[in-house]
Amino acid sequence: MEHIRTPKVEQVKLLDRFSNKSVTGTLHLTATHLIFVESNSTSAQEIWILHHHIASVEKLSLTTSGCPLLIQCRNFRLVHFVIPRERDCHDIYSSLLRLLRPVSYDELYAFSYNPKQNDQEREEGWQLIDLAAEFERMGVPCDQWQLTDVNREYKVCKTYPRDLYVPITASKPIIVGSSKFRSKGRFPVLTYFYQEKKAAVCRCSQPLSGFSARCLEDEHMLQAISKANHNSRYIYVMDTRPKLNALANRAAGKGYENEDNYSNIRFQFVGIENIHVMRGSLQKLLEVVGTRSLSMTDYLVGLENSGWLRHIKAIMDAAIFLAKAVTVEGASVLVHCSDGWDRTAQVCALGSLLMDPYYRTIKGFMVLIEKDWISFGHKFADRCDQLDPDPKEVSPIFTQFLECVWQLTEQFPQAFEFSEWFLIQIHEHVHSCQFGNFLGNSQRQREDLQLKERTYSLWAHLLSEKQNYLNPLFSPSVAESHPVLEPSTQAYHFKFWRNMYNQYDRSMHPRQSILKHVLTLQESKRELEGTVQALKTKLQKFGVSTSPLKPQTPPRERSLPPRPQSLILGAPLLSRKEVQQEEDKEVFGEEAREDAPASTGGERTVEGSSATENGYGELMGSFGSKNEPGVVTLEFGVARMTC
């Protein structure tokens, strides 16, 4: 709190990014959030920005109306304030600078966040995902694969989890020898087992082969993986880097497997670019889609030049290759990149998702993230810039994974139990530092931080509001008949994910959503059926027979379904639940507003559906009041239209 010099500034203007619109309100600075409250009392929107979400703060040069402050967030929100007095602006600016650079983990929000659960509930939350059970589900340990305790004390590899699965024939000396020959000690271990063909997906880091070095234990290790699968004589070794990068690494004493030294391997480069290229690409993408009055041509050219979708496709291609090798050829595959925690995680996780319908359910997807990303040491703290930032380490690797999944949900609308809101919500919390799951860079570090004792699990929270993330089109029977997804890699399938990268630009979103509508229908149906049931039971208690009522032809009267619960949550701050709902409204533009308009003065625009927001071109008139905005009376029932 000592960093906050000015907790409150009045008469602050919030400018819209894509139009000339602005609203005036009050800016509050708290220990955890920056809050903007619009002054206009009828439709007062509030914006809550978690300090951890702020990627950068910029103070622009003074203008006649005040001092502009530009805040860019990791969840792709961009806000532009104009603060009347420069001194206030500077105070906010320097306070934010300090607040968004926490110096120790203890300062992260997760350590102060309290969702009013008791210890037992918290513990249960952490026990939801059990990776040992997950391996059991895959059929491991089995006659060919076993749990090894070699890393119990994190002695062999600091960035791996304690429990690792290796071929039965891989003895401890082989493991230790192999780990010494692999970058950061990340030796080949099992991550997914395709029971039907006994084929394994293994992951590791690059070998320290340089130009000629070899390691017998490592060769043995691969041999052991190969032998564990009787269906195939060979294993694939996928180097997910472009060949050039792998070659360059040889000069540094690293590199890739020499096919002459390893028997029965098929070596393959798949060409996913490194974290720096990805960071730059996203940067370019965001610049394009943040441009005002963007033309279609500039949009498409910008999309192409950013290379973003090309990278997404490269990851998808690699995952498809992996899934095919395993499910069609029945071959085991070893995947690595440089350190084996970025591209390797992407490809293994996405590949498993293609092969196994379980990972396409809500619970299964959590397990997948827990396994391939969290436990195997994707460096969330570095990549998501949680603490002590090194800008060179930041990269949207996990975001890309989420996007690949989204692209799949677009191709297979019935294959996933969850909708894109689930993915967006996870993305939100990877950066929010509100829950313990993604803090730190490795399991070991998480244990040192005692996260399970001191913070809460995101998964429990997400499961508690599961109904918000359901995909109403999900069909388990499709999963049974087509367990393995075979996505098309036609270029036109790769689309820009507007709801992620422009999620806060309300004017862009469809005004009505089929998904939401169907969800609402289902929910109201469930509720009504529940009530009917309850009433029936009650009636029975009174001894009245409940002969089925004659179905009356219903007058097509329109009932207002309950609004679905919030989709993006902020923290239940200061325990002000109402306030939070306001924020949710702000967050999801198409959210239904069900409050009776009659009592609040009646005049409202259909959310987002006004001319000014759309910028069809200004009317250059000498004439006429240019009153903002084109107001349309919101009539009863129309609120539903926006749901």
Partner: protein, 556 residues
């Protein structure tokens, strides 16, 4: 020449048919005057493919040994392959297709022969007329009238016989104004906004020419349109520069000094050949076998199709902004007033007017604003994206309209009563149809050819209850508000339902769509909120009375 004289080989056996995502089939191929018929020879439930020859845009022949392959590219973007044993048969079939798919004479076309048993030719044709629209729109009665000055199509050959004009302007003035407008398309009423009585007018460009001619009657006509209100907007669908250049060739624009109460806004729209080429490039890009994202984006951009969608929706939004938000009347025109003008004015109506978002309303809108208003369908839709023929007057403006409507539907999936299926059906019918609706270029031509007497009306048949059901949007919930679409490029998308119609992708989407259907249906029928509500309230009533009873008992 009789049509049958084009057919040298009517029947070929042992033909192999290949379609995307279907196994190859063997069967018999027949050519008739208007159809290509393929049927496999299994006796039971034999499968047939019937293609209107008019639907065929291009064919390619290839000889493989003694047999030949014909690739058939349809105007609805389907591509088929036929392997025909015997070179001669193959060439005969190909030449028959070529000749019969490009018939020029309207009365030889299939709608004049289509006689299904469930339809009769007697009876009214079409859904609406100018007079009907006038009768329905009470707001017009005071200041507007129906003029039949064009009853013999002499004032404007491309207008219908009746048009709506300001009451105070007599037919004489209309004739003068028509002489001052290209093709005689003087300003007529297209839409009257139910909320504030403001109107959308449309016309062609004024023929001011290089020496800035003026026409008092035309000025009076427009003055009468705004009648006392301070200002109207002219949305000129050309850039200011193009409008200037048009003067050199006798066209022009309404100058500020003569039309002082009208404010002109220029919005550039591509037309004619450019748009046709966009379609060709887009379809080509969609069938590109390369899987490179960069190549795809670059081709998509290069086609400019989405840019046209973007401009059309933006300008329609602008018109709506003038009418709904600022409360002014608008005149829309480009050059000829038969293409982009209709596109913009009809889109604006869809956004503004809840009545035009029902199935009937939408079809009426198309009938009034496209068919009766004289969009030259025959010229514009002679060829589609595959044809190698030299372009003449082809231009897929109507397809562009359907695409824009689709974009609006994407953004307001509950606001339209019809579904994507209707748009797809129309996209197909406009190029090749059993019905007479899209024949000819104007009412005058249709009259001369006897279209109304000798063909069936598509729109009427779409509205038969059993047919209409296929095209309903299960999620429809009417709203009275204007539905402003977002025109950020991020909000517009490729119409996959049309352009990727014959891919695997479309199948997944189809399944998903069916699922939505079934969920909503189940909701409506089995445990619909209405019925459950009723059950609920009945239960509640019983319960309350019992509780009262219990209370009394307790008291006793």
């Amino acid at each position: 020449m009789e049509l049958s004289e084009h057919i040298k080989t009517a029947n070929v056996e042992d033909v192999t048919l290949r379609r995307p995502f279907h196994p190859a089939l063997r069967g018999t191929l027949c050519v008739t005057s208007h159809h290509l018929l393929f049927s496999d020879r299994k006796d039971e439930a034999s499968w047939q493919l019937l293609i209107l020859l008019k639907n065929i845009d291009a064919i390619e022949k290839r000889a493989v040994g003694s047999s030949g392959t014909i690739t058939i590219k349809c105007k609805d973007l389907l591509v088929l392959q036929l392997e025909i044993p015997g070179m001669e048969e193959c060439l005969n079939i190909a030449s028959s297709i070529e000749a019969l798919s490009s018939l020029e004479s309207v009365t030889e076309m299939y709608p004049f022969f289509y006689r299904p048993s469930h339809l009769t030719l007697n009876g009214p044709w079409g859904l609406s007329s100018t007079e009907q629209y006038y009768k329905q729109t009470e707001r017009l009665w005071d200041r507007w009238r129906v003029s039949t000055v064009n009853s013999d199509y002499s004032v404007c050959p491309s207008y219908p016989s009746a048009v709506i004009v300001p009451r105070e302007v007599d037919d004489d003035k209309l004739i003068h104004s028509a002489r001052f407008r290209q093709g005689g398309r003087f300003p007529v009423l297209s839409y009257c906004h139910h909320r504030n009585g403001m109107v959308i007018m449309r016309s062609s460009q004024p023929l001011t020419g290089a020496n800035k001619k003026r026409c008092k009657e035309d000025e009076l006509l427009l003055q009468a349109v705004i009648d006392g209100s301070e200002l109207g907007y002219i949305i000129d669908l050309r850039s200011a520069q193009q409008a200037q250049q048009a003067r050199m060739t006798g066209g022009g624009f309404e100058s500020k000094s003569f039309y002082s109460h009208w404010k002109r806004i220029h919005r550039h729209h591509e037309r004619g050949k450019v748009v046709q080429e966009s379609l060709i490039k887009l379809v080509e890009a969609c069938s590109d076998p390369s899987h490179s994202v960069d190549r795809w984006l670059s081709k998509l951009e290069n086609s400019k199709w989405l840019s046209h969608v973007h401009s059309a929706l933006s300008t329609a939004g602008l018109v709506v902004e003038c009418v709904e938000r600022d409360g002014h009347s608008v005149l829309v025109h480009g050059s000829e007033g038969t293409d982009n003008t209709l596109l913009v004015s009809s889109l604006a109506q869809l956004i503004l007017d809840p009545a035009s978002r029902t199935v009937t309303g939408f079809l009426c809108l198309l009938e009034r604003e496209w068919i009766q208003a004289g969009h030259p369908f025959q010229q514009r839709c002679a060829h589609s994206a595959y044809s190698h023929a030299r372009l003449k007057q082809e231009c897929p403006i109507f397809l562009l309209l359907l695409d824009c409507v689709w974009q609006v539907w994407r953004q307001f999936p509950l606001a339209l009563e019809f579904s994507e299926a209707l748009l797809l059906r129309l996209a197909q019918e406009v190029y090749a149809s059993n019905y007479g609706t899209f024949l000819c270029n104007s009412e005058q031509e249709r009259c001369a050819a006897g279209v109304k007497e000798n063909t069936h009306c598509l729109f009427q048949s779409l509205l038969r209850p059993d047919i209409e059901e296929q095209y309903l949007n299960p999620l429809y919930e009417p709203t009275d508000l204007a539905i402003w679409p977002s025109v950020h490029p991020q909000s517009l998308q490729l119409w996959t339902g049309l352009f990727l119609r014959w891919t695997e992708y479309a199948q997944n989407m189809e399944e998903a769509r069916e699922e939505v259907w079934s969920i909503v249906k189940e909701h409506h029928e089995q445990a619909g909120p209405d019925r459950t509500n009723n059950t609920l309230s009945t239960h509640c009533d019983t319960l309350t009375s019992f509780e009262n009873l219990m209370d009394e008992l307790t008291i006793l």
